[in-house]
Symmetry: C2
Subunit: 350 residues, 2 copies
DNA sequence: GAGATTTTGTAGAACGATATACGTAGAACA
DNA sequence: TGTTCTACGTATATCGTTCTACAAAATCTC
């Protein structure tokens, strides 16, 4: 109870490590060791310190920790917030972090266009805030930028097949296989003139992979002549115009393989407005198998890429990197087609 | 160029304020003042320092700033990520923060159930990370908890009508009016047996407000006998069961006013599966006017509560609070009904 | 039982900003 | 010419942790 410190701890202020140390009758360094699970702490001391921390309901401050060590915070960077698929990834990340000291903070990378930028404002902001590592989802930046970034801090990328040496890890579903499954599924149900509604600009490797998968499977199944790739940006208006043009052309496809469920919903909408029936006049398949696929008004066949698993794995790998791994690892989950009415078996033409 | 410092700055390390000061030939304190736009800096000095910061591409570290001052980071807490309405709020917040030094970091408050908790793990994590302030969206916690929280740091709450003295600001749409508009709109289109699909548990004030608005308008328009409120949680399965029960009862409503668009989409799905036509057999109205309402397969009439404006305003108010305002302010935007086919004019019964 | 090794704990200097308190140069005023 | 302001800059303590270096105690080794 003796107050010999020059600065008496003001009441009402937040508890610090110093007060915990004093309460437990040990040094500040000892408390810090317990906090970090560092080497050289006896069970007795650990218990004593833990008890004091509990009693005073002490919580370490990330800023102070960040000055010398880790902040125990990782950054999650999403390309947008409207696609519910990202919610799956998010919940996977959180599940992986549950029992660790780490906490995820998210941001949306709204930079469109400037692909060759050194980095993005959000990423710089995350670095300023001393994130221990980053998970970037569906990056629209060049591999070189990611490689440079990976040299600066632990990095895991979801949705990017190109590798950057040992600079970063990747977590993906097998996009090429996913596209193949879609073509196979549609062909099996009697569709042959399968168009692909892809994404523009197509700088990303997952786009390339899916397009390759589509092309190869079309050729292997003898429909090479029907290959037709059109591209639209994620902007609603753009998707609508593109789909409308595709469906009103002279050689209307009898199925469309869409980049995402979101685009597929737009496609269903446009087709419906044009008076076309799904799947009688045109079958639609999406990608991501988001929760909206199940709704009766959509009944959208889609490719499940287990977002939760992707997130889980990415978070695990990032923590490993933070803990010192310096060689790259790459994780790939198999996609799975989920059949639904939007691409059901084709009725014999009358 | 003289190196008389005891610690020579290691190359490859991040630029610090000290190096900027040295480069500009001024004191560290002067640089700090420029950074904070603090009083007592001449234009000449400011220019000199700015030039050096630019030249060295200096960026202040949030952790270090957080030790004594602000982190220039605010926390955004969402109740979930699946509702695209939150994306609108997010973009409003970002628009408001665009020209400031502040950066938003988000998190999802996944705590379900424990309403009377002192706080939530995410909120504590945000406090640990020295957020300068918090915007909480659609909190499922008691007002007292928010009041306590507001005493700890600047706080703005979106989607909560109950006030907490001067402890926090609120930003809302007029939920009571929104509900009234829906009833008025449906009545105007010939529907009378309007049921309300509300949210459970109904501890939140926005739920109460909407239910009050619904009840009052029903009574005022002479349909008090048709008042029927059913409740479901956000869980998909729960919504389905509730809607199915509602629609298969002996006294089927001819319209359902749903808590959110998401619930409305579920309702459309269930109704469709039951072989009911929309709006002939049952009209559906949602809330939030999310992007999916426009799709032909939904064509969902909804209430627009300008999420972007809500976010914009919340961020502005939060920054004001951080800058010292201590009295509460409350902002309310008027809701607006958006008519669509899901609740179009009723055809005369045959 | 002496030296070597390992385990356990401590002291105190960082980390990179902010903010207080103070010094100094001009300007304004008498 | 001195005095009093005001505007501008600076020196330096401080924030709450981590982490290096080291001391003391316990254990091992032969």
């Amino acid at each position: 109870m003796s107050e010999k410190e020059p600065t008496a701890p003001r009441s009402g202020e937040r508890i610090t490590i110093r007060e915990v140390a004093q309460d437990a009758g040990v040094s500040v360094a000892a408390v810090s060791k317990v906090l970090r699970d560092a080497y050289g702490v006896s069970d007795a001391l650990r218990a004593k310190v833990r008890a004091s921390m509990e009693k005073l309901s002490y919580r370490p401050r990330a800023s102070a920790r960040g000055m010398r060590g880790r902040t125990y915070t990782i950054g999650l960077i999403f390309p947008d917030l409207r696609n519910p698929f990202f919610a799956d990834i998010y919940s996977g990340v959180n599940a992986a972090l549950e029992r660790t000291q780490y906490q995820a903070m998210q941001g949306i990378n709204t930079t469109s266009g400037a692909l060759n930028m050194t980095s993005s404002a959000l990423i710089e902001a995350m670095i300023d805030r001393q994130m221990d590592g980053l998970v970037i989802i569906g990056p629209n930046m060049e591999t070189q930028v990611l490689t440079d970034l990976g040299a600066r801090l632990p990095l895991v990328v979801i949705g990017q097949h190109d590798r950057g040496g040992d600079a970063f890890d990747t977590v993906n579903n097998d996009d090429q296989l996913g596209a193949r499954l879609v073509v196979r599924y549609l062909m099996g149900n009697g569709y042959r003139k399968i168009a692909m509604l892809s994404l523009s600009p197509s700088n990303s490797s997952i786009i390339q992979q899916r397009e390759i998968g589509y092309r190869l499977e079309m050729m292997e199944l003898g429909a090479g002549d029907a290959i037709n790739i059109v591209r639209a940006s994620q902007v609603v208006r753009d998707v609508q115009v593109t789909v409308r043009r595709l469906l009103s052309g002279p050689d209307r496809p009898d199925a469309i393989f869409c980049w995402t469920d979101l685009m597929a919903f737009e496609a269903i909408s446009v087709a419906t407005e044009m008076g076309l029936s799904i799947p009688e006049d045109v079958a639609i398949v999406g990608y991501d198998n988001t929760m909206f696929c199940d709704l009766a008004q959509n009944s959208l066949a889609s490719v499940d890429q287990s977002g939760e698993l992707l997130g889980l794995q990415a978070a695990r790998m990032l923590v490993e990197r933070i803990d010192g791994r310096v060689t790259a690892e790459h994780f790939m989950v198999p996609p799975r087609i989920v059949a639904r009415a939007s691409a059901g078996p084709r009725q014999p033409q009358d």
